[in-house]
């Protein structure tokens, strides 16, 4: 059953067509990766699902009902963690923001924050300000803030694009384990083809001007995935090759 469904969605911003004829349904618990060259409307797609943008045509539903605005069971992880965290609040304070938004009972907040910090491996940094944390830790903190909402859907907009390779791999595995544990549905935007295949149950490649879907394929790689063995499997390499050819073709 589709948790999020796009039905013939067009998006025009300032007279410019951004997305055209987007038709996709994301199953509950599915991990959907979307790849495409820059400027193909990947982020707009995510903002539509988040309710931060309204489609110019067509409709978007969440659990069968039209999406009218942001909702607390849909959480967004932005790429630019440096800008998405409140610099005047500590790590705990940043997580508290999400709890404040959902009117979480005050007396239970401290325990919930401690639990989330432990989950994401930041327990020792509870009282540090974002600028005292490394890029990877800041992105972990943003993910923890999203998990505080106890979301059914995680929308991730190139969340690891600015991180170094080692940190990125560690966070990829953490996102996979969070998704497996919570059963959350994930829409994961990336420009990294390997990342898209490694994480996803399904990959959609987009074509720009205006943004539309080019190709979609299911990924049957076994879970749990492993940074070494999964990436060495012949199916993985074959899909990477196919996807690479598609992206190369649409970029011209």
């Amino acid at each position: 059953m589709a948790l999020i469904a796009f039905e013939k969605v067009d998006l025009t911003l300032g007279g410019r067509p951004i997305l055209a004829g987007i038709d996709v349904s994301i199953r509950k618990g599915e991990f959907l990766s979307v790849v495409g060259p820059s400027g193909c409307g990947k982020t707009s797609l995510l903002n539509l699902a988040a309710g931060l943008l309204t489609p110019s045509a067509g409709r978007i539903t969440y659990a069968g009902k039209p999406v009218t605005g942001p909702r607390q069971d849909i959480a967004i992880v932005f790429q630019d963690y440096g800008k998405a965290l409140l610099p005047w609040r500590t790590a705990s304070g940043n997580i508290a923001l999400a709890l404040e938004a959902m009117n979480y009972p005050k007396e239970k907040r401290a325990a919930r924050i401690a639990e989330l910090l432990a989950l994401i491996g930041l327990s020792r940094h509870a009282d540090k300000f974002p600028n005292q944390l490394s890029g990877g830790m800041q992105q972990r903190l943003q993910i923890a803030r999203c998990l505080a909402q106890d979301p059914s859907v995680l929308l991730m907009d190139e969340p690891f694009g600015a991180l170094d390779a080692m940190t990125r791999q560690a966070l990829q595995d953490e996102v996979l384990s969070i998704a497996a544990r919570t059963g959350a549905t994930v829409l994961f935007i990336t420009h990294d083809l390997e990342e898209a295949i490694y994480l996803g149950d399904r990959v959609i490649a987009m074509r720009p001007n205006p943004g539309r879907f080019e190709i979609s394929f299911d990924i049957d790689l076994p879970r749990p995935r492993d940074q070494l063995t999964t990436r060495e499997r012949p199916e993985f390499l074959k899909m990477r090759r196919e996807l690479f050819d598609v992206i190369k073709e649409v970029e011209h």
């Binding site: 967004i76 409140l86 005047w88 999400a98 600028n131 909402q149």
Partner: protein, 258 residues
């Protein structure tokens, strides 16, 4: 603070101290005394007199009280108007002409009108100080609010905060360090304008005592008050600087590192 104190180079005092000592010697050697100049020891003596008889305390209190009251009123109005203008481009466009039309009026040019409306006294001076302090607060608050990182607003929207909570939890804390800079600027202006109004028209405070000393041919008192005003202004600014560091330590840090 301690690091700053260590950096203070005592050699910087050579020239002012030398100047004072030189002036004292010159005054004693030539026996100079006039309606314009006074010897450093004469200035110290005059300062001592007004300190003992309470004039200085009284005048300082009056000047500081009008400055602070005017600053408070100007700041409140500046914030009340500046925040909405920073939040809404429509409101900003609507008000732009009115603001730019009134802003260039020098605050002290309002002395005649304020005198007609309020007469001499605190209210007249406070109203002019408030007018002068209002503009920097308004303009810089508007800019600070409009300049809040759009991503933060998006985060607040995504978390499901309403408009009021967004302003309260995101916009104001994010803009506050820059608003405080505006406040420091306005505080300096408030003191300048208060003293100017006292010198020009209003019979109270340090400015009035200075002009009185000048007119009664007591340059030593006039200069003593001038030095004292310098001290007051310096202390005022340093208290604000200190509070800024205490209040916005972490946020100020991030600004520097970026």
């Amino acid at each position: 603070m301690s690091a700053e104190a260590k950096r203070l180079d005592w050699r910087g005092l050579v020239i002012p101290v030398g100047f004072v000592v030189g002036a004292e010697f010159a005054a004693r050697a030539t026996g100079w005394e006039s309606s314009m100049l006074a010897s450093p020891s004469g200035i110290v003596a005059a300062f001592w007199t007004v300190l003992i008889d309470g004039t200085l305390l009284h005048a300082t209190a009056a000047t500081l009280a009008t400055s602070l009251a005017g600053l408070a009123i100007g700041s409140i109005f500046g914030l009340l108007i500046g925040i909405p203008l920073g939040l809404s481009r429509t409101a900003d466009r609507l008000m732009e002409f009115s603001i730019e039309a009134f802003r260039p009026i020098p605050a002290v040019a309002l002395i005649p009108i304020a005198l007609l409306v309020f007469g001499f006294g605190f209210r007249m001076e406070i109203s002019i100080v408030a007018f002068a302090a209002f503009w920097p607060i308004l303009i810089l608050t508007r800019a600070a609010v409009a300049g809040v990182e759009p991503r933060l607003i998006q985060v607040a929207r995504a978390l499901g905060f309403g408009a009021t909570a967004r302003v309260w939890k995101i916009v104001l804390p994010a803009a506050l360090p820059r608003i405080f800079v505006a406040f420091r600027l306005a505080a300096g202006i408030a003191l300048i304008v208060a003293v100017t109004v006292e010198i020009a028209a209003n019979p109270l405070g340090l400015g009035y005592n200075m002009i009185l000393a000048q007119q009664t041919l007591r340059p030593e008192l006039m200069l003593a008050l001038l030095v004292w005003l310098g001290v007051v202004g310096w202390a005022f600014n340093h208290i604000l600087l200190w509070s800024q560091k205490r209040l916005f330590g972490p946020a100020a840090m991030i600004r520097i590192e970026r």
